[in-house]
């Protein structure tokens, strides 16, 4: 579904991604772990099309489309979703309107009819119920005054409403209480199926207990250092990155 080959990217003069090779087949969930500053979020941003990163080489194909040539909105319409590590606050923008505008933009791009406010609220309330979220959050401004955990849940809600084909979850589990962690995992698991894949960036084994990944990759210094099965995450939890980094050096 997603094929990354030799991807290099920099910000200003600073190279951050130094040749990423990674394929996520349809229906699979892959985890990415790695030390702070190793380039995990950068990979997410580059996939989503953030313009302040310069792609200096390599390719990203998403279901046979050249993703690097597409605008961020075209990538979203094609089915990509990035749950931000630090979700952005939008003062003055109502949360429900924001999500409805996004959903309708994507529906429009697919030639589908738009949802009116009533239809949308019905859909949103149902998703919120499944995610044990308070419907009051729809009336607030996007992420403004939300607690850390509420912001993460709001990202998961957007994912549930937009129903992407490929989700990148950037530390969506950080800052969540134990119950919320389970809800987030359930949210991802409910989308799981042959037409859905995900890249889950995390520092913790716990999420991966609920969301058993097909593969685990270790990103360090802007490269995939090692890949393995779910047991690799457990090994890291026990031994840390030190030994692995030393071995690679």
């Amino acid at each position: 579904m997603l094929d990354i080959v030799g991807l290099t990217a920099s910000i200003g003069d600073k190279a951050i991604l130094n040749g990423i090779d990674l394929s996520v087949p349809a229906g699979e969930i892959h985890a990415i772990m790695g030390p702070n500053g190793s380039g995990k979020s950068t990979l997410g941003y580059v996939l989503a099309g953030r313009e302040d990163y310069t792609v200096t080489g390599g390719s990203v194909r998403f279901e046979n489309q050249d993703m690097l040539a597409m605008t961020p909105e075209a990538r979203a319409a094609a089915g990509l979703f990035l749950a931000f590590q630090a979700p952005i606050e939008l003062p003055g923008v109502n949360n429900a309107n924001f999500m409805r505008t996004a959903l309708n933009a994507i529906r429009r791009a697919h030639g589908e009819s738009e949802l009116d406010a009533v239809q949308f609220l019905k859909l949103a309330r149902a998703e919120m119920k499944r995610l044990s979220m308070d419907a009051e959050m729809l009336r607030r401004n996007v992420n403004v005054g939300f607690s850390g955990g509420e912001k993460k849940r709001n990202e998961v809600l957007q994912m549930a409403i937009l129903r992407p084909r490929f989700a990148v979850l950037d530390e969506t589990d950080s800052g969540l209480d134990i119950d919320a962690l389970k809800i987030v995992a359930d949210g991802v698991n409910s989308l799981r199926g042959p037409g859905f894949s995900a890249l889950v960036i995390t520092h913790h084994q716990r999420l991966l207990d609920h969301l058993v990944p097909n593969r685990v990759h270790v990103l360090a210094g802007g490269r995939i250092l090692r890949s393995g099965g779910p047991e690799l995450a457990k090994e890291l939890e026990k031994n840390g990155y030190g030994a692995m980094l030393a071995e690679a050096a």
Binding site: A48, G49, R50, E51, D52, T71, P72, E73, R75, A76, A77, F81, L82, F84, P87, I88, L90, P91, G92, V93, F98, M99, T101, A102, L103, A105, I106, A109, Q158, L162
Partner: protein
């Protein structure tokens, strides 16, 4: 004084005063003094080599080259439908278009120049004092809630209007005054308003300026607030070629409150100047000012805000913020905050932000599938929605939102 010393641009107005002097209502000595002051001051920026600090960023030079007449007494104009409305067209009261509003009299019948204004110092106030033919004299007696009153001004092509308004609220009285100024063609609207808010009274004053793109709108407001009283002002400037909103608010009694908020949405080569002077004369007063500007095209926004705290005004709390969103590299904002503090127990802050749309916010929206132009529109409207936040009256808020939506449609289309 001989004719050669008349400053550029002032001659036409002075000639009109000379012609109609005998027919104007009210204190003729005051008018003659105002005419002398106007002759000496001239139009700001009109005379070469003369610069006045209070008019640092705004010139009325283009106005000087134009000639205006007084409005004819009647004529067809479109008027919004509202139950309590006082309608003026070209500076004249239009009884046929107005409704009966308790406590209202027109200036032509009961001229009242008040005591707060400075015709000897402010040229546009001198011009108004010299030429005022009519205006709204509105009195709300102590303890009365007068609800909402609409004060509507229609500009008429080729005319200059100098209405003189006087609003007095007695102790504990309440009023929501919604003032609109609109019209088409080339005209000058030069109102002076004097406002007295007595002990514990609350005036909500919402001004919506959507004058035509060739119009000049030069308004001066003087407000005096007594103990525990509130002057809650909000001005939306959308129209006009050159506009200036100059507000002088004096907080006299302990615990007086003044809000001088506003938003300016400009495009093309529009120029809008928001100038305020807040005087904390009594103790424990609160003043709040947030001005938001959205500037497109070659437009220019100005905010000059001055807070003065007198020696006895202990416990003063003053806040002032000017924000600008520049939608074009050719748009410009000028900000001049000034604090003059003579008391020691005072909390005063001011700030300014100038920027383009936030790149992270824009990316967040686009990453959700929202196209770039739609995402930009959402962020501008969000900035504007926040600008309207201080206005809590539903009817006023609705009118402001409509005006803003219409402006934004014009930008997008």
């Amino acid at each position: 004084m001989n004719a050669i010393s008349v400053p550029e641009g002032a001659a036409g107005f002075l000639a009109r005063f000379a012609a109609m002097q005998g027919r104007l209502p009210g204190d003729s000595t005051l008018r003659a003094a105002a005419a002398e002051a106007f002759r000496a001051l001239g139009l700001p920026g009109a005379s070469r080599g003369r610069r006045v600090e209070a008019w640092k960023y705004t010139t009325l030079q283009p106005l000087g080259g134009m000639s205006f007449r007084s409005a004819e007494p009647a004529g067809k104009i479109a008027i919004p439908d509202s139950p309590a409305r006082i309608v003026f067209a070209g500076g004249r009261y239009r009884e046929d278009l107005s409704t009966a509003v308790p406590g209202f009299a027109c200036f032509a019948d009961q001229p009242d120049f008040g005591e707060l204004s400075w015709p000897d110092r402010d040229p546009m106030v001198a011009l108004n004092t010299m030429l005022a033919e009519d205006g709204a004299i509105l009195t709300v007696p102590a303890g009365i809630d007068a609800g909402i009153v609409h004060l509507i001004h229609a500009g008429i092509d080729g005319t200059s209007a100098h209405p003189r308004h006087m609003i007095r609220l007695g102790g504990g009285a309440r009023l929501t005054l919604i003032e609109t100024s609109a019209g088409s063609g080339r005209y000058l609207h030069n109102p002076v308003s004097e406002i007295h808010v007595a002990d514990g009274a609350v005036l909500t004053h919402v001004r919506i300026q959507t004058d035509g793109t060739e119009a000049f709108h030069l308004a001066t407001i003087y407000a005096a607030v007594a103990a525990g009283g509130t002057y809650d002002g909000f001005t939306l400037n959308i129209g006009g070629r050159t506009t200036r909103t100059e507000i002088h608010a004096t907080l006299n009694g302990p615990g007086a409150i003044a809000h001088l908020n506003g938003a300016q949405l400009l495009t093309g080569s529009q120029h809008a100047d928001f100038t305020s002077v807040v005087r904390h004369a009594g103790p424990k007063g609160t003043s709040r000012q947030t001005i938001k500007n959205v500037l497109a095209g070659h437009s220019r926004g100005v905010f000059q805000g001055r807070i003065e705290v007198a020696r006895g005004a202990q416990g003063t709390d003053g806040y002032q913020m000017n924000r600008a969103l520049l939608l074009s590299p050719d748009a410009e904002i000028d900000t001049k905050p000034e604090l003059e503090i003579f008391a020691d127990d005072v909390k005063c802050s001011h700030g300014a932000t100038v920027g383009e749309l936030d790149a992270e916010q824009l990316f967040y929206l686009r990453s959700r599938g929202i196209p770039d132009n739609e995402a930009r529109s959402i962020l501008v409207r969000a900035f504007l929605a926040e600008a309207l936040d201080p206005v809590t009256n539903d009817i006023a808020r609705g009118l402001l939102e409509d005006a803003v939506a219409l402006w934004w449609e014009g930008q997008a289309g």
